[in-house]
């Protein structure tokens, strides 16, 4: 059980025509069984691309240029794991389901393809799954088309499909962003509950630190294609080391004063193909000094299990 | 083949056909229906590069004169069809409401009646001359143009520059002709190019059924005349057929190339 479920080491994702143009650089992380790892960062930081690389769904033009990926002790083979041992949940439930097929069709096809269930058995299991994700009246919903369901209901269906084959890992890419706030909380509670009852590890990709505080065990912060900080959730919130993490936390509305204004982070995320020399965050950093513009800080272990890539915290 | 390649290859083919049509009267001044040698001489006979047909006519001369008829009928009927289509489509798209309903029902009516059958009946009723053939083909080809123009007008009429013309009190006729129509023309031109190909193929089909002007040599007529000798002299049918195929191919390529050149935003890759 000490072996991590998913182990990523030295992952580079780059344009397939030019491996030097990298969108993800030298990324390493592990996910343990039953663990919720949150991956946090602004859009364009490489978190979604990483998840697509893990499932072999990188868009044309991008490819894994370097790195070792292992799943359950063996080299990761996305095509064999996708849908069986790794489930995926996408951001927009409104467009994730095929409008031309019933909910039942879309669930049972996974069960029939991966578990070899017969028609009747697959349908029975689909009804179970719909109940498991707490959709009301599964017997009715199973024969309806997605257009008849609300966004929250559709995301529950997507989750049902993701967990249909009892996966070890679910990758949830912004699973609540497209939903109403009240529904967001319900969906997160559902995911956390599934981890408890089924022992599924979850890689939760989000830019919402509120969700992270609520559900995650560990957090990885990414900036410009790179990991800049990683820590268990309490130390990260109590003692953020990287200036970027501190800014992200400051930008998150606190649960107590939900109406407080979001503190914006000044400046733009630099293009991953056109990074400044030195620390990529330096141009936006309010404590940056000369050395930050000179060399890129390495990732260093500051406390046990708490890593950061910043000149100010390097031992 | 690259997109620009389509435009060039199509254009080159068209140029060749136009040249054939233009030079028909110069190179082959005599009547294409005239019997000039023994019948059924194979291509390659000295002085007769493409041989003679079952009535001893020079196939090469017929081919050149056929190019003239095909182009003439294709262009004239397309011009007429585009004219009708623009009028109907512009009125329907600009005025909407009842006018649109009435004109669209009319368009649907013409799309329901099998076009080729309607052309046949028209020609039997009107008799076959160049003018009636052009009329018949135009009468069955305009609905596609009308629909296209209508949809262009429906979207263009909501655009700001049209709205402002209305505000300053410009007349409907001027708005339609000077403001909207020029902006709607690009897709119409592309469609028209393809329509010429369709018209040429339809004319050939009508000729094949014997519905051609008896005084005009056409490629369809040549195929019709040769089909009974196919066992002994297949070249009589193959040669004009290839001419039709190459011409239609050239027009379609040209249309495709034009489409990409005129609507770069629609390019898909």
């Amino acid at each position: 059980m000490n072996q991590p479920l998913l182990s990523v080491a030295g992952l580079d994702i780059a344009r397939s025509d030019d491996p030097t143009r990298r969108v993800v650089r030298n990324l390493s992380f592990d996910i343990a069984r039953g663990e919720i790892l949150a991956v946090v960062g602004e859009s364009g930081c490489g978190k979604t691309v990483t998840s697509l690389a893990l499932t072999g769904l990188l868009p044309d033009g991008l490819a894994i240029a370097a790195g070792t990926l292992a799943f359950d002790g063996a080299p990761l083979r996305p095509a064999e794991l996708r849908g069986r041992r790794i489930g995926m949940i996408f951001q927009d439930p409104m467009s994730a389901l095929n409008p031309m097929f019933t909910i039942g069709d879309q669930i049972t096809e996974v069960l029939r393809a991966h578990l070899g269930l017969r028609r009747a058995a697959a349908r029975a299991r689909a009804l179970e799954l719909l109940a498991l994700v707490r959709l009301p009246d599964p017997a009715r919903i199973i024969d309806t088309y997605p257009t008849r369901l609300s966004g929250g209901q559709r995301q529950r269906v997507v989750i049902a499909i993701a967990i249909a084959c009892n996966p070890d890992l679910v990758i949830a890419d912004e699973p609540t962003t497209a939903l109403d706030p009240t529904i967001q909380a319900q969906i997160m509670a559902l995911l956390a509950g599934l981890r408890e009852t089924l022992g599924i590890a979850i890689m939760l990709i989000t830019h919402n630190l509120g969700l992270v505080a609520q559900a995650a065990d560990r957090v990885m912060v990414m900036y410009a294609g790179r990991k800049v900080e990683e820590a268990p959730v309490e130390p990260l919130f109590a003692r953020p080391l990287h200036p970027y993490t501190r800014r992200l936390l400051a930008a998150t509305p606190h649960p107590g004063h939900a109406q407080s204004r979001l503190a914006e982070i000044p400046g733009l995320v630099p293009s991953v193909f056109d990074l400044p020399p030195g620390c990529p965050f330096a141009p936006r950093c309010d404590v940056a000094e000369a050395r930050c513009h000179g060399s890129e800080p390495a990732l260093a272990s500051v406390y046990a299990g708490h890593f950061a890539a910043c000149h100010f915290v390097a031992p | 083949m690259t997109r620009h390649g389509a435009l060039w290859v199509g254009g080159a083919i068209l140029l060749a056909v136009v040249a054939m049509a233009g030079l028909a009267g110069v190179i082959f001044p005599e009547d294409p229906f005239a019997m000039i040698d023994q019948p059924l001489l194979w291509p390659g006979t000295p002085g007769l590069p493409l041989g003679t047909d079952s009535l001893g006519r020079d196939i090469m001369a017929d081919l050149f004169h056929g190019a003239r008829a095909s182009l003439l009928i294709g262009l004239a009927s397309t011009a007429a069809a585009v004219g009708i289509g623009i009028v109907v489509g512009a009125l329907a798209g600009y005025y909407r409401g009842l006018v649109d309903d009435a004109l669209m029902r009319l368009t649907e009516l013409f799309q329901t009646i099998p076009p080729f059958m309607l052309a046949i009946v028209l020609l039997v009723v009107l008799g076959t001359t160049l003018a009636t053939i052009v009329t018949a083909i135009a009468l069955v080809s305009w609905p596609a143009v009308a629909r296209l123009v209508r949809s262009e007008f429906l979207s263009l009429r909501e655009r700001e520059f049209v709205q402002s013309c209305r505000v300053i009190g410009m007349s409907d006729a001027r708005i339609i002709l000077q403001q909207i129509l020029p902006n709607a023309l690009a897709p119409v031109i592309v469609t028209a190019t393809v329509l010429v190909a369709t018209a040429i193929l339809m004319e050939a089909g009508l000729s094949f059924l014997g519905l051609s002007d008896p005084n005009v040599m056409t490629w369809g007529h040549m195929i019709n005349m040769g089909k009974d000798q196919m066992r002994q002299a297949w070249y009589i049918v193959v040669i004009p057929g290839c001419a039709l195929l190459v011409t239609a191919l050239g027009l379609n390529l040209f249309g495709e190339g034009l489409n990409d050149a005129l609507n770069p935003r629609l390019r898909r890759q």
């Binding site: 019933t102 024969d143 | 099998p114 059958m117 094949f208 190459v246």
Partner: protein
Amino acid sequence: MKKRTKKLSSVGSALSAESTERAGKKVWLLFSKRSACFLARRLALALLIVLGIAVCNFVLLHMAPGDAADALAGEAGAGDPAYLAILRARFGLDQPLPVQLWHFLLRLVTFDLGYSSRYGQSVASLILERLPATLLLMGTAMTLAVIGGIVLGVTAARFAGRAVDRVISLIVLLLYGTPMFWSGLMLILLFSVRLDWLPAGGMYDMRVRATGLAHVLDIGQHLILPAATQACFFLAVYTRLLRASMLEVLGLDHIRFARAKGMPERRIAFVHALRNALPPLITMVGMNVGTFLGGAVLGETVFSWPGIGRLMFDAVFQRDINLLLSILVLSSVFVVLANLVVDILYVVINPAVELR
């Protein structure tokens, strides 16, 4: 609508076969208020179009040389003033035009299309007798075109920009430019004259007069070339259409999700994406029924296929205007009916459709 669905699913769960239940549900969908409204409007429109077709024919009849009686008489009674007088009286041709139109419509409604002395039977029965042969040929050709178009179009979209796609584009381009009657002649030249594999024309072998299965096989053999000839052009049309709509669908989120579900690529293309790309194809096929029928005149003439198209060619040859007009009317009405069927299909196949 919701209530009905609920009731249905409780009825359905009693059935063991899931597919029967689903088919039942889709038929029920037709009776939902929304669909009923849509179909009623379509029906009204169809009736309007039929009326338009009738008026069109009336106009054509009066454009014909001589008066309508000459046209109606065909070649049989031409030059026989007594017969023409009878015809004029019978069809009210001495009445004012509106009255004549009314008579004309009445005749159409009662299916009284006149009598063909050349064939010795009523025009209506003559056409109906030829209809099955045309339907067989047209149905086969359409099926070939649709299946071929689906396979080629989906394949081209899956490998867009690559060699397969280019080859398919080239085929499409060539088929687009080939005159249909000419490709028929070329097929005869190759497969009948040169190779002697398939018969050059007709619907069955007159000399053998086979029965039972042999008869069916015989017809099948005669069917191959004309069906392929008529399918070619539309194959190109459908390939192109499907490639475009597949490219659109393949970029959608739910296709990415299907990949994430671990579905094989082929299934994603031919099941997930195709189902979404199908509605425009169905619309197109519906719109092409008339063009198919027109093409039948050429196809059936080339292959001496004893259908309506061939009958029309004979009528052209004999300048039998009444027969020509009757074929035109019935073909148009057939197109209207076919379009109604397409509308119904559209509702059945497309659960998310916005009905207008």
